[in-house]
């Protein structure tokens, strides 16, 4: 009887990785399948030549520069002359500091002007008439849709898979100690109820059909919560609260950034808020685990730098009009420097690194200039060399790197434990709650990848990582389909930031990189971290063209 039971429990251990593979497959298949072939939205007809210019994107630059979406090679036209873009209310044109200006139906435009079908815009002498896409005499839509393979999974279906996974993993942790413990089941039950509530609200309340991003994030944060049930049920409860707050914040941000132009107006406030947070942190911050990046509010410790990450992406992103009209990045560079400086003062080098890489991503996405990237890296290298010259003791923090087995009881303590227990778990794991790594300091937060490998198995650990990387690959592919460059930039940079943070975490604890004490997105114990990563997911959600298609 006992043997039968342990075999049953172990069979869960075998099923979980395959469930995870299935969930990842279904979610990402649906996401990638949603990227339908692009069709022209409208057509601009060149009155003089009769050329029909198909408009593919929601935001289009017009100018002489060969990088523009609509290239008009006339000496009278500026390099970046105007931006022609679509919003909820229709199509608009905006002059982006051109020399000769833009005429709409013969009148010079001052700011953004709405254009109707049949209107004529004159750009440096070129007259363009706005026409419907069907002037291109394409195949009709129905037949094209029929050609397209719609083998995808509904949001409800995905959530069913996630639910099965969470029920099974909860069973595993309930019996982890040999006797049945009801608490994880209660916690997991609340989590499932909340997840389904979110599904119902978004599907029927917000009329959104796409649920893949939420399903992926729920799957990953669910693993984090159940994993914590095996360590400390109170921590698991806090994590669940953070997950709920994160989802709520996610929905708020998705609604808030519905209008890209509104986001642009919000930027000064967000910048002020972020800097204020950092300032409060610097003044009132508490030193915890070597870095002063915590503030205490009502018994809860909060890491403001996690929220500044979200603001950082928000401020870095911009609509095409914003990019074309503000050519230099001065304000953003100053803001970034302030953030990174504050993080250095707090002693949080890991997060500073993440900000730096994200800065490079943003700078390149906005400017497209490789020179900027090289210059930034060179400046940073100089800066680091300068700091190390004056504070050489910082290096001692990294002296264990690649030598952890020589210092298993001091500076290599955490890394050696991660390696030894990851190996103990093998590919399939020991069972949730049955590990030894959890007794090591900071295991559920910084070392959580080791816990995943030990208790859930290395296969599952790697799937968790792959899902985050797949998100990055997906946003890169979805890129230009989104409704504004704002979403393209913010989603790519958010995914890049998460991926880089994951690299720092996973390869830090496995001694492939110096250990820096950053969290693994979604899975690590840490309320601020979980809330902020859900907030970052909002950018990815917003970049999905389906998100705002109804309602």
């Amino acid at each position: 009887m006992k043997t039968m039971f342990s075999l049953l429990l172990y069979s869960i251990q075998l099923i979980l990785p395959f469930m995870a593979i299935l969930i990842a497959y279904c979610c990402f298949r649906t996401l990638f399948k949603s990227l339908k072939p692009m069709r022209p939205l409208v057509v601009l007809l060149n009155r003089a030549t009769g050329e029909k210019i198909p408009i593919m994107y929601w935001e289009n630059s017009i100018g002489r520069d060969r990088h523009c979406d609509i290239v008009l090679n006339m000496p009278s036209i500026s390099r970046d002359h105007a931006v022609f873009y679509r919003r909820k209310g229709g199509w608009f044109i905006s002059d982006t500091n051109s020399k000769v200006g833009v005429l709409l139906n013969g009148k010079k435009i001052e700011s953004d002007e709405k254009i109707f079908i049949g209107d004529v815009i004159n750009i440096g002498g070129v007259a363009l008439e706005l026409c419907r896409a069907d002037v291109l005499s394409l195949k009709n839509r129905e037949s094209e849709d029929a050609d397209f393979d719609y083998d995808t999974y509904s949001g409800g279906g995905l959530l069913v898979l996630v639910t099965i996974f969470q029920v099974l993993s909860t069973l595993s942790v309930c019996f982890g100690s040999g006797k049945f413990d009801y608490k994880p089941a209660v916690l997991s039950g609340i989590m499932l109820l909340f997840e389904w509530l979110v599904f119902v609200v978004t599907k029927f309340g917000f009329k959104r059909d796409n649920f893949e991003i939420e399903a992926i994030a729920m799957f990953l944060s669910g693993i984090g919560v159940v994993n914590l049930c095996g360590v400390d049920i109170n921590d698991a409860f806090t994590q669940l609260i953070a997950m709920a707050l994160g989802i709520i914040l996610f929905e708020i941000i998705v609604l808030l950034i519905k209008h890209a132009d509104f986001c642009m107006k919000l930027r000064p406030y967000v910048a002020f808020f972020a800097l204020a947070l950092l300032a409060v942190n610097l003044v009132f911050g508490k030193v915890k685990n070597g870095s002063q990046n915590w503030i205490m509010i009502g018994g809860y410790s909060i890491q403001p730098s996690e929220f500044v990450k979200v603001a950082f992406i928000f401020l870095g992103a911009s609509t095409l009009k914003g990019i074309q009209t503000t050519k230099n990045l001065t304000w953003f560079i100053l803001f970034s420097a302030a953030c990174m400086g504050a993080l250095f003062l707090m002693g949080d080098f890991g997060t500073a690194c993440i900000f730096f890489v994200t800065f490079i991503l943003i700078a390149f996405m906005r400017s497209g200039s490789i020179r900027t990237v090289v210059l930034t890296c060179a400046t940073a290298a100089l800066g680091v060399a300068f700091i190390l010259n004056f504070k050489p003791y910082i290096m001692t923090r990294f002296s264990a790197w690649r030598h952890v087995w020589e210092h298993p009881n001091d500076i290599g303590y955490q890394q050696t434990r991660v390696l030894t227990y990851s190996a103990s778990g093998g590919l399939l794991g020991l069972g949730v709650g049955k590990g030894c790594l959890k007794y090591v300091f900071a295991a559920p937060s910084d070392l959580v990848f080791g816990m995943l490998c030990e208790e859930w198995g290395m296969i599952l650990g790697i799937i968790v990582l792959l899902m985050i990387v797949l998100l990055a690959i997906y946003v890169r592919h979805a890129g230009v389909r989104s409704r504004s460059a704002f979403y393209t930039i913010s989603s790519c940079c958010a995914a890049g930031m998460m991926t880089f943070q994951m690299i720092m975490n996973v390869f830090g604890v496995t001694d492939m990189l110096p250990l820096t004490g950053v969290t693994l997105p979604f899975v690590s114990l840490g309320g601020s971290s979980l809330v902020s990563v859900w907030a970052l997911m909002a950018f990815i959600k917003a970049s999905d063209e389906r998100t705002y298609s109804r309602g």
């Binding site: 593919m56 390149f364 298993p408 990851s422 190996a423 890169r476």
Partner: protein
């Protein structure tokens, strides 16, 4: 928007960095996961919660087993202490122990399930050792609070019957080594039989004698002159006594320093080194695949007097006990070495069939003639110098050593030897650290060990 498509390619730098790192990590994991899993820091091993196979001694005594989730060792404390270095303590701190070396088999570890496979599937192996745990226990107790090692093996079959290393401790009651200030537990995790090399003192004369026999035509017949003190290039070499004129056989039995000093100087650095390297000095020797601490003979920088001292086992000479045991077995077995081993067999728990280990066959190390001569000389030494009563009348061949290790410390005591009668094929090595004269410290331990083995041997016949 179009150029966003190109610019977002920068994301692939991060993505490729991830895949490169992941690939390298998986590569490292596949290569090293076993070492990581059995690292001493792993609490799965040290808290003994893993179900593991049994370890038996040669008589079927269970030295270690897992009972309802706990690793349990032999009920007798003396036996637990005596076999600690061979069996291990559950962690991999004693890296040469069987539980460390065969942990994957014992604890059912594999790459795929880690330690996680339920008992139903696990294929824990049992291991049977060649040790006689009772003999080990009584030998170990004889050391009192001295450090050292005692080894004995059957030179015909290779089975190690006794292997103890001191200091030791009780796995069921591990002392707090961090509070050990007087060095009582120095090197407690080392099996001194394998992982130590001591100054050999006079037992080294066996090697010098062999070097002489093989390189000088009149080494045995000529007379060596001992006047207690000899001045070589202004440096003194002293002997215990004024032995007068004596031949090699007598010189070995009386352990005359001057005679062996003369042989070493006459052979010179090059020939001595070549001879000693033939006997296994300065190169890696192995026991069941474990690399032993090297025995060292290095006279590169020696003065003439130093070279003389090197011939009597002082200067910088060091000797590994297991290496010496193999030499003893070789001399006893007409120059052919039967490799010693301690793991007799593996078997899967519950299964009847034993999987015999393939043992290395005999190999010729020392010429039969030299071995025969040494055997007679050591028999002569035993009979005339020490008296057979030490071994209860069992005819043995032996040599003691007293190795000076510093002004204020007692010398290390050695006794090495083997049985004269091949029907009771036993070779032994005993080292007592700071034990004083070899015959006084190592002698009684060797005597008791051989007598006890002989008693059991006679009974089984």
């Amino acid at each position: 928007m179009r150029n966003m498509k190109f610019r977002s390619l920068i994301l692939y730098f991060v993505i490729f960095a991830f895949f490169a790192g992941l690939g390298y990590y998986i590569f490292e994991f596949t290569r090293e996961s076993r070492d990581w899993a059995f690292s001493p820091v792993n609490r799965h091993l040290s808290n003994g919660s893993l179900s593991g196979g049994k370890i038996f001694d040669t008589n079927g005594e269970i030295l270690a087993q897992t009972v309802s989730g706990k690793r349990v060792y032999h009920e007798n404390e003396d036996i637990r202490k005596a076999v600690l270095h061979t069996v291990g303590d559950g962690s991999t701190l004693i890296s040469t122990s069987v539980q460390s070396r065969y942990n994957a088999g014992l604890f059912g570890y594999n790459f795929v399930t880690g330690f996680g496979a339920p008992d139903y599937f696990s294929s824990n192996q049992d291991i049977t050792l060649t040790l006689d745990s009772k003999i080990c226990a009584s030998v170990s107790k004889k050391f009192g609070d001295k450090k050292g090692t005692a080894l004995a093996y059957n030179y015909k079959t290779g089975e190690v019957i006794c292997m103890v290393s001191l200091p030791t401790y009780d796995v069921n009651n591990r002392p707090d080594f961090s509070k050990d200030t007087d060095g009582k537990y120095d090197g407690v995790y080392l099996n001194r039989a394998l992982s130590a090399a001591y100054t050999p003192g006079s037992v080294f004369k066996i090697f010098t004698a062999m070097a002489g026999i093989e390189n000088l035509s009149d080494a045995e017949t000529r007379k060596y002159e001992c006047e207690k003190v000899k001045i070589i290039d202004g440096e003194k070499v002293t002997c215990m006594q004024n032995h007068g004129k004596l031949d090699l056989k007598t010189a070995l039995s009386k352990s005359c320093d001057i005679a062996f000093c003369d042989i070493a100087i006459e052979l010179g650095k090059e020939k001595m080194t070549r001879a000693l390297e033939k006997f296994g000095f300065n190169s890696s020797q192995y026991f069941e695949g474990i690399e032993l601490t090297k025995s060292v003979y290095d006279v590169n920088l020696a003065s003439k007097a130093d070279l003389g001292w090197s011939g009597i086992g002082q200067y910088t000479d060091t000797l590994n006990p297991m290496h010496m045991l193999k030499i003893m077995g070789t001399l006893a077995n007409e120059g052919n070495l039967v490799e010693p081993f301690v793991v007799k067999s593996f078997s899967v728990s519950g299964a009847k069939e034993n999987q015999k280990l393939t043992k290395t066959s005999e190999k010729s190390v020392i010429s039969k003639i030299t071995a025969g001569k040494m055997k007679e000389m050591m028999r002569f030494t035993m009979k005339n110098q020490y008296n057979d009563s030490l071994f209860g009348g069992i005819p043995m061949c032996a040599k003691t050593g007293t190795a000076e290790v510093g002004e204020d410390k007692l010398p290390h005591g050695w006794m090495v030897g083997f049985s004269y009668d091949e029907k009771f094929p036993i070779a032994f090595v005993v080292v007592v650290e700071n034990g004083d004269f070899g015959i006084k410290s190592a002698g009684p331990i060797a005597g008791a060990m051989v007598k006890e083995m002989h008693g059991i041997f006679a009974k089984s016949k």
